[in-house]
């Protein structure tokens, strides 16, 4: 078990280093001068050669790429993550201010996906090919096909249209102002949660169907246990193992999916910051946020693998 965790962590660390290199160099081949992004095309033409060189040096962009990369790594190690082109706060400050909102959205959406997805899957799997099963399967395919941000736009539009309601736009922290915070978070969380619930329901249904056919479940039935006990105590725990894996992977995808969804709702979270950075071509913020997302994604995958190994002796003793 320890060997397994250590090996996973070592590979994860290698991946993170690789990710940082790829992120850095991919974003540095961006077409266009960063100074044009900073001053606008007009302001750029008014700058003299010397000014341009001065600004480039000040931003640390005139060093060789390797040196710039090492500076960035040092920044990450120090935890300051560099500065935005346009705003005074450092990227680290921005993450600590906006990150909690996105994290809340992600966690609520995961909880919601289980609350919705698992019961639907149980109902489906107990009566495969019944009317209820077909409806829930169609709904789950529908929710896979609906783009989350469009669903979000519809919710915003409908609540404005029919109730004249709009979620507060300014950020509100969970502790200082829980009611505003909930209003901000709930929309994106529902959209992302239902999207995940579709995956969860599909996976849990097929995995339950497989488990229900196994001998030990038949034994439990033959012992005379009632159906509910067999499902909840015998079949479900084993059927949920692949669902846990999927849910962990989906959590990583939710962080990415929240970028367009937060834009649709106007949520002042990390996803919206990513959108702003993309539209402003703000390379520093982009590279740090992409790196952060990738690191979180890698760590989540490791956490999922370790959890599964801990829960499932078949993997642990391999």
């Amino acid at each position: 078990m320890y060997h397994y965790i250590v090996r996973r962590l070592a590979f994860g660390a290698l991946t993170v280093i690789g990710v940082s290199i790829v992120v850095f160099f991919v974003l540095r081949v961006l077409p266009g001068d960063p100074l044009i992004a900073l001053f606008g095309p007009e302001g750029f033409t008014k700058l003299s050669e010397a000014d341009r060189a001065g600004y480039m040096a000040q931003l640390g962009l005139s060093d060789p790429l390797i040196v710039q990369y090492l500076h960035w790594v040092a920044d990450i190690a120090r935890g300051s993550l560099g500065h935005s082109f346009f705003r005074a706060e450092s990227v680290a400050e921005m993450i600590s201010r906006r990150g909690p909102l996105t994290a809340e959205i992600a966690l609520i959406s995961v909880a919601l996906s289980w609350v919705v997805g698992i019961p639907v899957a149980i109902v489906s799997a107990l009566r495969p090919n019944s009317v209820g099963d077909n409806i829930s399967r169609f709904l789950s395919i529908l929710f896979l096909a609906v783009p989350g941000f469009w669903f979000g736009m519809l919710i915003v539009l409908a609540s404005l249209f029919w109730f004249g309601y709009r979620a507060p736009l300014a950020g509100a922290s969970l502790l200082a102002n829980p009611w505003d915070n909930l209003q901000i978070v709930i929309g994106p969380a529902v959209v992302l949660g239902l999207g995940q619930a579709a995956y969860i329901a599909r996976m849990a249904r097929s995995s339950l169907l497989e488990v229900i056919r196994e001998d030990y479940v038949r034994t439990a039935r033959a012992k005379g246990l009632n159906g509910r006990r067999v499902i909840s105590l015998h079949a479900l725990p084993n059927a949920l193992l692949p669902v846990i894996t999927l849910s962990g992977i989906l959590l990583g995808f939710v962080l990415a999916g929240s970028i367009p969804v937060e834009r649709a709702f106007g949520t002042p979270g990390l996803g919206y910051a990513m959108f702003t950075a993309v539209s402003e071509r703000d390379v520093f913020v982009m590279q740090n946020l992409v790196f952060l997302y990738a690191v979180v994604f890698v760590m989540l995958n490791i956490a999922v693998d370790v959890t599964i190994a801990w829960l499932d002796p078949r993997i642990r003793y391999r």
Binding site: V26, L27, A256, R281, Y293
Partner: protein, 306 residues
């Protein structure tokens, strides 16, 4: 066992005698079987085909030019001459929705043809050769999968600059790992089959083994993967466009219409939000249900793999 008729002994000669007609007839029979056994999937297949036809014949069926402004009808809700309404500079929404199918389908088909195919061929080679090549390939694929696909596509699209070609490349790269993994798994199980061993025993070259004996078995999983990923590619294209790194503005695409509607004012007009979004959803739904149907018919065991 002496009653084997001579025709069945040489099946290869038999099929190569009239390849076109027998292939056409076989495809026709397969299609008929598909309609009979999975009518619902066949229905969604028809919708997918209708969307494809709509994209191809857009200039013939669109009532207006997608880029032409009608300044007497600006931001008008759906009514007689403009059945889906008009946007804030008077462009007809119905025509733009019809033309929008071109961009989405071009990107999706391009990305899948390029990405899924490349990934599948890579998976074929890495599964077939195994060894060090396989290990390195697996690590590269795992690395590609250490980014969520939207983030990866976004970074690549930003790095390459806006345009339909870059969007295709960006999405294609995110499709490579899926092709690689699925086809590699198929190849690994095929390699153990005795007919493959027999071919090797007969002295077939690597290229011949892969092309004649392994590749044909990979076509079904490839088709399923490609159909399903058409839908995924459309969703990623839409998300990229919504974040402003998709196909640039004057081109009528569904997602550009959605993004434009956000800039139309405080409250986006509902018809500018509803219709393009429905178009995206319907297209993705059609492709994924068609993919599911093909999978269930060709090989139910692939249910969990793809």
């Amino acid at each position: 066992m002496t009653a084997i008729e001579p025709e069945t002994v040489y099946p290869i000669e038999q099929t190569s005698a009239a390849p076109e007609t027998s292939l056409g007839r076989r495809a026709g029979r397969g299609l008929l079987r598909f309609v009979r056994r999975a009518p619902l999937s066949a229905f969604w297949g028809c919708i997918a085909a209708a969307i494809l036809v709509m994209a191809l014949t857009a200039p013939l069926i669109a009532p207006y030019e997608p880029l032409k402004s009608d300044f007497r009808h600006m931001t008008k809700p759906p009514a007689a001459p403009h059945y889906f309404g008009t946007d804030q500079i008077g462009r007809d929404t119905l025509s733009r929705v019809i033309y929008g199918s071109r961009a989405s389908l071009t990107v999706a088909i391009g990305a899948v043809l390029f990405g899924t195919t490349l990934g599948s061929l890579w998976g074929l080679a890495s599964g077939y050769f195994g060894g060090r090549f396989d290990i390195v390939s697996q690590r590269i694929i795992e690395f590609l999968q250490s980014f969520p696909d939207l983030i990866l596509a976004m970074a690549i699209a930003m790095a390459l600059g806006a345009g339909i070609g870059t969007v295709i490349v960006a999405i294609a790269i995110t499709r490579i790992p899926f092709g690689g993994r699925v086809i590699r798994a198929v190849v690994l199980s095929l390699k153990e089959m005795s007919y493959v061993e027999a071919a090797r025993g007969l002295g077939a070259s690597h290229l011949r083994m892969m092309a004649r004996h392994i590749l044909p078995q990979c076509i079904a999983p490839y088709l399923i993967l490609a159909t399903t990923h058409l839908g995924v590619a459309i969703i990623i294209e839409a998300s990229l466009g919504f974040l402003g790194v998709g196909i640039p503005a004057p081109t009528p695409t569904w997602v550009n219409m959605l993004a434009d509607s956000l800039n139309a004012g405080l409250v986006p007009p509902w018809w500018l939000v509803l219709f393009p979004g429905c178009a995206i959803t319907l297209t993705v739904l059609a492709f994924s249900l068609l993919g599911d149907g093909i999978r269930d018919m060709v090989d139910p065991r692939l249910r969990s793999a793809v």
